[in-house]
Amino acid sequence: MKALREFVDKQKPHFEKGGRFEKLHSTFEAFETFLFVPNTVTHSGAHIRDAIDMKRTMIIVVLALIPPLLFGIWNVGYQHFLSNGMAPDFWPMVGFGLLKVLPVIVVSYVTGLAIEFAFAQSRGHEVNEGFLVSGMLIPLVMPPDVPLWMVAVATAFAVVIGKEVFGGTGMNILNPALTARAFLFFAYPSEMSGDRVWIAEKADAYSGATPLGHLLVLDADKLPSDWSMFLGTIPGSIGETSTIAILLGAIVLIATGIGSFRIMASVVAGGLVMGLLFNLWGANAYMDIPAYQHLIMGGFAFGTVYMATDPVSASQTNRGKLYYGFLIGFIAVLIRVFNPAYPEGMMLAILLMNVFAPLIDHYVLQSNIKKRLKRAKAVTA
């Protein structure tokens, strides 16, 4: 460790003001702080600081993404062989899945980080850790067969238009990973919808429709069993199928306090309420499916745990988070049932509420402000 530190210290002057590589300061800083927690000390204010920092936070979210990732890798292989009528052992399935999923992850990280570094460099600020998470989220919401160049284009779009335009991490309005997904959905719909794309190298004869796809044409009787939807052995985006793996991640996020339990709970509540309302209405097969099934189909669980809880694009006040989450669940189910063009209502519901989150916060703040003004008036009266 000492030798490494000495090496880094030796290089450092080149990247500082007046050094040869002054322009690459942000890049150097990113690598240095990746290796070492810096030696900066407090100068005023609180002299001691909590051990947590942005890197720690982000790495824990990545950790929470591991269960759906691992399951997704296996499931990509499993679905592929299933569609081809084969039933190989565990490892060939994982092997096939790795072959499909790893390149997507690599492309997502390389593209995103390259852009992040470039922007940090040109603006002269530090590289933000946010993309550690976005870079993993993007592959998990992609269909297994997505062309790699599309992943790159979508990632670039998400980082530049979804984030840097607004001034970088912390300023963005939309969740970057969902922006990438939405971009692909609208730009290359044939690769992001239908029943061809959800199984990698699917045999033609095999129906590859997702549960939402079946419901879209009101084939409720073709739905897989609750158990397989909960377990995740169904076609779908790489990381979104397994509710149980996502629940494991949710436990990590809630236990560490990094993911907002408030938001997760209220999204689920919103989804259930809308589902039950539809049950009461019951005009078609889609409205009649039990409300809880909405939670285990499509991207509902994944969106609830990893996307809706993104602190930057969500509501920031505790009360606002409740409204925000509830509306996401509510609107997601509404879109699913009512808009046949968009089987995945979760993505759109979250993006929509991302836009409205500041407004929700505004009204929450206003009520606090009103309370204060009222108190002041009561005194003077």
């Binding site: 719909p189 044939s190 919808s193 033609d204």
Partner: protein, 245 residues
């Protein structure tokens, strides 16, 4: 300051002036505009029957050459009007508003539908214009049938605002080229229309293959729209076809 009288005079003069300019412009340009509309419609009819190289300049000429009869039929299959001479763009059949007539059909009112009869390479081709709804807006097209009123010669589709890459695929050759050779009547002679189905037509038995084409993956609702449009419009012609024997 301007007096009220001035203002009224000013406004009155302006209105008259503007009205004169606009109406004379409209009168001057009207023939060209009408011609353009007719040409547009003709191009799409001709291309459904597989006639190549139709341009805006020769469309009227070609149309009059190829088309031998402009027929109007009513809900009972009776021919109410025929037009065989020159200047077919002035025929009643050409001017029928399809949307209006199909609406009349949907509310069980009487309706009139056009049928265009072409002669191409010694063969008779019957063209039926189509109109229906997709996911986001109207879809339309023309279907060309052989003289047996059963075998499809060709189709063209159009749409206003279907999703690019999904529903919008109906106007690409990939989708349209599936139609030639399909039949709209079963071997027993019952009307079945042409279906747009999911799951790969070639995986189905021959009698299904005879009447169906592949839907567009991810364009389910638009595909269903095309399916319904074909059924709805074609069945309106069944009385006429059956009367012809």
């Amino acid at each position: 300051m301007y007096s009220n009288a001035y203002i009224f005079r000013y406004a009155g003069l302006m209105v008259i002036l503007v009205a004169a300019i606009l109406s004379s412009a409209a009168m001057l340009l009207k023939p060209m505009q009408e011609r353009n509309e007719a040409v547009d419609k003709m191009q799409s009819i001709l291309s459904a029957s597989g006639i190549q190289n139709v341009t805006a300049d020769n469309a009227i000429e070609l149309f009059n050459d190829y088309v031998v009869n402009m027929v109007v039929i009513d809900e009972n299959g009776n021919v109410t009007d025929e037009f065989k001479g020159a200047g077919k763009e002035n025929s009643e059949a050409f001017k029928i508003n399809l949307k209006e007539q199909l609406y009349n059909k949907s509310v069980n009112r009487g309706f009139k539908l056009p049928l265009y009869v072409l002669e191409k390479d010694g063969e008779t081709i019957n063209i039926i214009p189509l109109r229906g709804v997709g996911l986001w807006g109207p879809v339309w097209g023309n279907i060309a049938l052989k003289s047996d009123f059963n075998t499809v010669v060709g189709v063209t589709f159009g749409h206003k605002s279907e999703t690019p890459g999904l529903g919008a695929e109906i106007e690409t050759p990939v989708f349209e080229d599936q139609f030639p050779g399909k039949k709209i009547f079963s071997e027993e002679g019952n009307f079945v229309s042409i279906g747009v189905i999911k799951g790969g037509v070639e995986n189905f038995p021959a009698d299904v293959q005879r009447h169906n084409v592949d839907a567009i993956s991810g364009g389910t609702i638009t595909s269903n729209g095309v399916n319904d449009m074909l059924k709805n419009v074609l069945e309106s012609y069944v009385p006429y076809i059956q009367k012809r024997g």
